[in-house]
C-alpha cells in the first residue's frame, strides 16, 4: 500500500540526491563536449575558488537572513494586531494575505512595473520624498534589497496566518492574570506571547528559510541575476550553469551543496525544537 508513494519518493527525491552526488564528480560540459570525464572533487574546487560562486553564496545568505526576520517580525506584528478582532480587521487580513494566492511570477511582473525608473510607483514615491531618480533594479547596491522587499511583500501574509492560528490557541487565562498584575501590553507580548508562539515561530522560520533557498522565479523575470550578479542566488546560479552554460558537472555539485545546506538547516531546526519547545 505504501508502494506508490514510496516508489515515487525514491525515484524523484532520494535517487536524484545520489545521482547529483555521483555526477558532481565528473566533468560534463556540453560547451566543451566533455561527456563524462572523471574529475574527483575538481568541480567543487572550481566552485569554491570562483569569485562568482562566493558572491552567489553571499547573496543567498544575505537574502535568506535578511528576508526571514523581516517577514516573520512583520507577520507576528500583523497577527497580534489583527487578532484583536477590531472592526475592519477582517479586511486587513484579506489585504495582507492576498499576495499568497497569486503566483510569484505575477508578483514579479507587478513589481517590475513598480520599480521601473521614472514611472514606477516606487520611483515616483522616492522622487516625492526627495530621493531623486533611482534605478533600483539597475543598481548593484539596491537590486538585492529591492528583490528582498517584494519577497517580504509576497510572503508576510502567509506567515501572518500561521501566527493568527497560533494566537488563537493561547490560553486566555494567562493574559487575564497578567492584566490583573498590571502588566503593560508590551510586557505581555514579551513575556507571554513571544515565548508561547515559539513553536509557530520555529515552524515559520524553517519554511521561510527553505523558501528563500528556493528563490528563483522573480530573478528569472526581474534581474536575470544581475546587475553584475548582485541578485544571483544559489538556485538561479544552478539553473544558469545547467541550462545556459551546459556545465552539468558543476550544476550537480551545486545541487549537492544546496541539498547539504537544506539538510543542515533542517537538522538545526530539529535540535532547536527539542531544546526550546519543551515549555510549561
Amino acid at each position: 500500500m505504501l508502494a506508490p508513494a514510496l516508489v515515487l519518493l525514491l525515484v524523484f527525491t532520494i535517487y536524484p540526491m545520489f545521482a547529483a552526488g555521483y555526477m558532481s564528480l565528473f566533468q560534463i560540459n556540453m560547451a566543451t563536449r566533455q561527456q563524462m570525464v572523471w574529475a574527483g572533487f575538481a568541480n567543487y574546487q572550481q566552485l569554491f575558488a570562483s569569485p562568482l560562486f562566493r558572491q552567489v553564496m553571499k547573496n543567498t545568505f544575505v537574502f535568506a537572513f535578511g528576508t526571514v526576520p523581516f517577514s516573520i517580525g512583520l507577520a507576528m506584528y500583523l497577527a497580534v494586531q489583527l487578532n484583536r478582532r477590531f472592526r475592519g480587521s477582517a479586511l486587513f487580513r484579506t489585504i495582507f494575505f492576498y499576495p499568497t494566492v497569486i503566483p510569484m511570477m505575477s508578483a514579479a511582473t507587478i513589481w517590475l512595473f513598480m520599480y521601473t525608473p521614472q514611472y514606477g510607483v516606487v520611483n515616483r514615491l522616492l522622487v516625492l520624498f526627495g530621493f531623486g531618480e533611482l534605478n533600483l533594479l539597475g543598481n548593484s547596491a539596491t537590486a538585492l534589497p529591492a528583490i528582498m522587499l517584494m519577497t517580504v511583500w509576497k510572503d508576510a501574509g502567509y506567515f501572518m496566518l500561521f501566527y493568527l492560528a497560533g494566537l488563537q490557541n493561547l490560553p486566555a487565562e494567562l493574559y487575564e492574570a497578567a492584566e490583573l498584575d498590571g502588566a503593560s501590553p508590551w510586557a505581555q507580548f514579551r513575556r507571554l506571547t513571544l515565548p508561547l508562539l515559539m513553536p509557530t515561530t520555529l515552524f515559520v522560520t524553517t519554511v521561510s528559510l527553505i523558501n528563500s533557498f528556493k528563490t528563483v522565479d522573480q530573478l528569472f523575470l526581474m534581474t536575470a541575476g544581475g546587475p553584475n550578479n548582485a541578485t544571483n542566488l544559489l538556485l538561479y546560479h544552478l539553473y544558469e550553469q545547467a541550462f545556459s552554460f551546459y556545465d552539468r558537472g558543476v550544476a550537480a555539485a551545486l545541487t549537492v551543496i544546496l541539498v547539504v545546506i537544506l539538510m543542515i538547516l533542517a537538522i538545526i531546526q530539529n535540535q532547536w525544537v527539542d531544546k526550546r519547545i519543551h515549555y510549561n
Partner: protein, 274 residues
Amino acid sequence: MARRNSISFAALLILTLLGAAWVIPLLWTFATAFRPANQSVAVGALISTDWTLENFARAWSYAPFGQYYLNTTILVVGILAMQLVTTTLAAFVFARMEFPGRNLIFLLFLLQLMVPAEALAVPNYITMRKLGLIDTHLAMMLPYVASAFGTFLLRQTFRQVPRELEEAAVIDGCGPLQTLWHVFIPLARPTLVAYGLVSVSYHWNNFFWPMVVTNTPENRPLTVGLALFAKAVEGGSDWALVTAGTVIVILPLLVLFLVFQRQFISSFMHSGIK
C-alpha cells in the same frame, strides 16, 4: 487569546499605511491594464477615467492564455488526484501499521520535506529525459506526487480516528483498503479539503520546475506563459500589455479567493498546525 476588540490609534495608522503598501501595487497594475496604451505611464494614470479593454484583447492574441489555463488546470487536477491516492495510502500505513523498517522509510519521507523538488531540478530533469517525458504534463507532476507534507498531515488526522470505529469495520469484514475507504477517509474530509486547497494553490502558482521541463505552449502552464510573455513584450516595454497579461492570469485567482476567503484561510491555517 484576543481580549480587546479595539486597537490603539497608532497601531491603526501603521496598519493602514502597511495596508496601502500592500494594495497599491495591485491597484496600479489593474489601473494600467485598463488604460489606453499611450496613457500607461502618464502621471494621471491612476485617476484618469479613460478605460479600455483593448490591452486585454491584444494580450490574448499575443499568447495562448486559453491554452495556458487549460494546461494549468490539467496540471493541478492531475497532481491533486495522484497525491490523494498516494498520501492517503501512505498516511494510513504510517498511522496504523507496523512493519520492519518503518522508521527508516518514515525518515525518507522526512527527507522530502527538507529537500524541495526545485533543488533537485537537474537530476530530475535528466531522469525525465531518460524516461522520454520531457515536455509532458506527467513530467511536471511526478516529482510532486509523493507529497511528504500531505502524508504527514493525513497521518496526524488518521491517528485521531477512534479505534472503535476501526475495529467495528474490521468486524464487519473490511480489509485495510476498505477500512481506509469507508472509515478513515470520510472522517478526514476537512483535512483532505484543506490539503486540496493548499495543493491546488501551490501548484497553480508553481513556476520553476514546469519551466525547466516544458518546451511548447501545448504543455506550458500559466506561470511560465506569463514569464515568457512578459519577457517578449519587454522588447518594447509595453506596460499596458504586461499588466493586462498579469491581470488575465491573476483575476480568477483573486475572485475565487475573495469569494471563498474563509475556506482559503482556514485551509492554510489548518495545514500549518503541526
